[in-house]
């Protein structure tokens, strides 16, 4: 593996900073700041009240410490909770009104917001620091009755839907970071698919952290009404900064009877440098509720960035015959840490869940899979299949698998399989003997390892994910 060790270390190429004038809240957190955010967003009274309730609850909570990650204490008073690029008017009406610098940022990231240039079939909501700057293809979606807009806009224009579903899957008191998010969230995406509609294109939100010392707290709410279908993609990057930045998002999915939501993430926040300095703390609560019978929620995630990743996209299988799926690739290189997995809560009858988790550790990376499969007393004939595979590159990294299984119904069948392997010298030699360079051999073997997950990603994303893995792993093998 000596050749592989010598692979060049490419830098994080999304690490640039965009120079825009920002409208920020003062440092620190108190009720005044929350009122400031709510006022900035011209929110209705219920929203402010909800935020304040969350904040008061948060004050009584303590930061969780059970996760298998290590980081210095976060000073919540030394952070900026609201930062928005200055706008000429109250919210951009068209692309012409968006700061040129921001448009260029998204161009650089390969996310052109100009609808003409957009690859066909994907509508994008672009979130820059704390606010949504543009949502493409709105009119086209509106023809089908699909609502896809920034969260702030949804609070204004679709108040009843927000009121009904906000916090219905992740209540503000759910956990420390969810409570913090509920108090200070600034924007995010909102999506509603009406009854029987198959969303005509992929929906996508692209998150970009730009300002220094800001926490990013966005909130995504997706509601798929009866018999509808939506595929949703989430991408993210951040500039290189030597201080850690907190990203504490909340994503809530609601699938009503017969509805299907496919949620895919390629997470590429800045991971910190080779010595482990800087990088994003990605402490996110993602949960979906299969509220109706025969509904289905699939999470597919590729986690390559962040200094620390701590998240468990989960599914509450409430409706009978509902299905929950979780496909994950989590990669830790250098000093990255990840404690990720899922929770599948079986409540309805004949509910099924599948968990395929692939962990790759390189360098001094520390990768933990943590999963909970819970079968409630009423969940007759619940089924779960879990497979956790870890791949180690080098000898200084670690992989842990922590499955929790709670079964309260005798008819349940829960299966768990786990494996840990290394890329063997034999595999590398075999590839090299066929003329394949060590770099390509390693990336081929790793892509093979992740195939079961990648095949669940939309085509474009699968290609991006595969490239991202190669880049993230350069210099990692040895």
């Amino acid at each position: 593996m000596d050749q592989a060790k010598a692979l060049v270390n490419r830098e994080y190429k999304w690490g640039f900073v965009t120079d825009v004038e920002a409208d920020s809240a003062p440092r620190g957190l108190n009720e005044e700041i929350i009122r400031f955010i709510s006022l900035k967003k011209k929110e209705p009274a219920f929203m402010l009240q909800w935020r304040l309730n969350a904040y008061r609850r948060w004050l009584q909570m303590t930061e969780p410490r059970w996760q298998h990650v290590h980081y210095p204490a976060i000073d919540y008073q030394d952070m900026i909770y609201y930062s928005a690029p200055k706008q000429k008017k109250d919210g951009p009406g068209s692309l012409d009104e968006i700061d040129k610098e921001i448009l260029e940022t998204y161009e650089k990231l390969g996310i052109p917001l100009d609808e003409q240039k957009r690859l066909a079939g994907v509508a994008v909501d672009a979130v820059f620091d704390s606010v949504s700057v543009a949502t493409t293809f709105k009119e086209k979606l509106a023809e089908k009755g699909v609502i896809f807009c920034s969260f702030s806009e949804a609070v204004q224009n679709h108040t009843e839907l927000v009121k009904k579903y906000l916090g219905s899957v992740v209540p503000y008191a759910d956990n420390f970071y969810a409570a913090l998010n509920s108090a200070v969230f600034s924007d995010g995406s909102f999506c509603y698919i009406p009854k029987g509609v198959r969303c005509p294109m992929e929906l996508s939100t692209y998150f970009r952290i730009n300002s220094a010392d800001t926490g990013q707290f966005e909130r995504t709410l997706i509601v798929a009404d009866e018999g509808s279908y939506v595929s949703y993609l989430e991408g993210c990057t951040a500039p290189i900064r030597d201080k850690n930045q907190l990203h504490a998002a909340v994503v809530e999915l609601v699938a009503l009877e017969g509805a299907q939501i496919k949620y895919s993430t390629v997470q590429n926040w800045y991971a910190g440098d080779k010595e482990g300095k800087g990088g994003i703390y990605n402490f996110v609560t993602k949960r979906g509720k299969c509220a109706g019978h025969r509904s289905k929620i699939s999470w597919t995630q590729v986690e390559t960035g962040s200094a620390i990743t701590w998240k468990y996209p989960s599914v509450i299988l409430q409706g009978d015959d509902s299905i929950g799926e979780f496909y994950s690739v989590a990669l830790t290189n250098n000093y990255q840490q990840a404690d990720t997995g899922t929770k599948m809560i079986h409540i309805g009858k004949n509910t099924k869940s599948t968990v395929i988790a692939k962990g790759i550790s390189a360098g001094h990376g520390d990768n933990t899979y943590r999963g909970l499969i819970k079968v409630m007393p009423a969940a007759m004939n619940a089924r779960n299949y879990t497979q956790c595979d870890s791949l180690l590159l080098g000898s200084r990294c670690a992989a842990n698998t922590l499955p929790y299984i709670e079964v309260k119904n005798r008819t349940a069948k829960v299966e768990h399989e786990a494996s840990t392997s290394k890329i063997s010298e034999d595999q590398l030699f075999y590839c090299k003997q066929r003329g394949i360079s060590p770099e390509n051999a390693v990336s081929m073997i790793i892509n093979g390892f992740c195939k079961e997950v990648f095949k669940n990603l939309p085509m474009e994303f699968a290609v991006e994910a595969s490239k991202l893995l190669s880049v993230s792993l350069e210099g990692a093998v040895g």
Binding site: Q3, Q427, Y430, Q433, R434, G435, I436, P438, M444, G448
Partner: protein, 258 residues
């Protein structure tokens, strides 16, 4: 094409090859025979560039170049191919993908354009007939779930596609039934031409009925102790390796060369 001079090789401090001399010219087929533990596989691995082995002494020249200084992938791109005794499995990587990657890296080295998916598939289908592979094999992961015979046929298929100048076959006949043996031999024979050379490593004379060698060498205790024509293989079959050991007492295990 290949010249091995006084090659000494160790692994983990233990000397396995103790002064090998071998000369292979273009167009020739050489068979290397010998009992278990005589160093046959070590020789093939070293020629192919496996870095687990240390060359402590001697030289290997391939088409005038110092082979020992070349990386495994550089050797492969220059036309050295090893059909492995135990081909490894690569989960999640399809045979078609693997072969295309290999072929295109070799073509790039030769200054040729990459083959696109359509042309490649055509080539693959044609060569698959040669080794009687089922088309479903294309989408199966490399060697995963293959029977012993399928793995060996897959090695020959790879060889047929990559068209090496020097093919080294390590015990390709072991574990094959007579039909599979015939298919493998046919594959090798079809590749025989005046520009290419083959080194066959085998335990048994059986394979040599199908692939007729120009020369036969006997490897014992890390050295080639006897060379001859195909007739030598028959003598070995008849009299066993002990016959050579008796005649060449120095070749016994543990004998140190000076």
């Amino acid at each position: 094409m290949l010249e091995v001079k006084n090659l000494h090789v160790s692994i983990e401090g233990k000397e396995i090859l103790k002064g090998i001399h071998l000369k292979v010219r273009a167009g020739e087929v050489h068979a290397i025979m010998g009992p278990n533990g005589s160093g046959k596989s070590t020789l093939t691995q070293v020629l192919a560039g496996n870095e687990s082995y240390t060359v402590t002494q001697g030289d290997v020249f391939y088409q005038g170049k110092n082979l020992i200084e070349m990386s495994a992938e550089a050797r492969a791109r220059e036309g050295v191919f090893l059909a492995f005794q135990y081909p490894v499995e690569i989960a999640g990587v399809s045979n078609a993908y693997f072969l295309k990657a290999a072929l295109n890296e070799i073509r790039a080295h030769q200054g040729l354009e990459e083959l696109d998916a359509v042309d490649f598939l055509e080539l693959l289908k044609e060569k698959m007939k040669l080794v009687k592979m089922d088309p479903s094999f294309l989408n199966r992961p490399v060697n995963e779930g293959f029977s012993g015979g399928e793995k060996k046929r897959n090695e020959i298929l790879q060889m047929a596609i990559l068209e090496p100048k020097l093919s080294i076959l390590d015990e390709t006949d072991s574990g094959l039934d007579i039909d599979a043996l015939r298919i493998v031999a046919e594959g090798v024979n079809q590749l025989r031409n005046p520009e290419r050379a083959t080194v066959l490593v085998t335990h048994y004379q059986r394979l040599l009925n199908y692939i007729v060698p120009d020369y036969v060498h006997v490897l014992l205790g890390g050295r080639i102790v006897k060379s001859g024509t195909k007739a030598l293989a028959f003598q070995l079959e008849e009299k066993g390796y002990d016959w050579v050991k008796e005649r060449e007492p120095e070749a016994g295990e543990g004998v140190k060369t000076k």
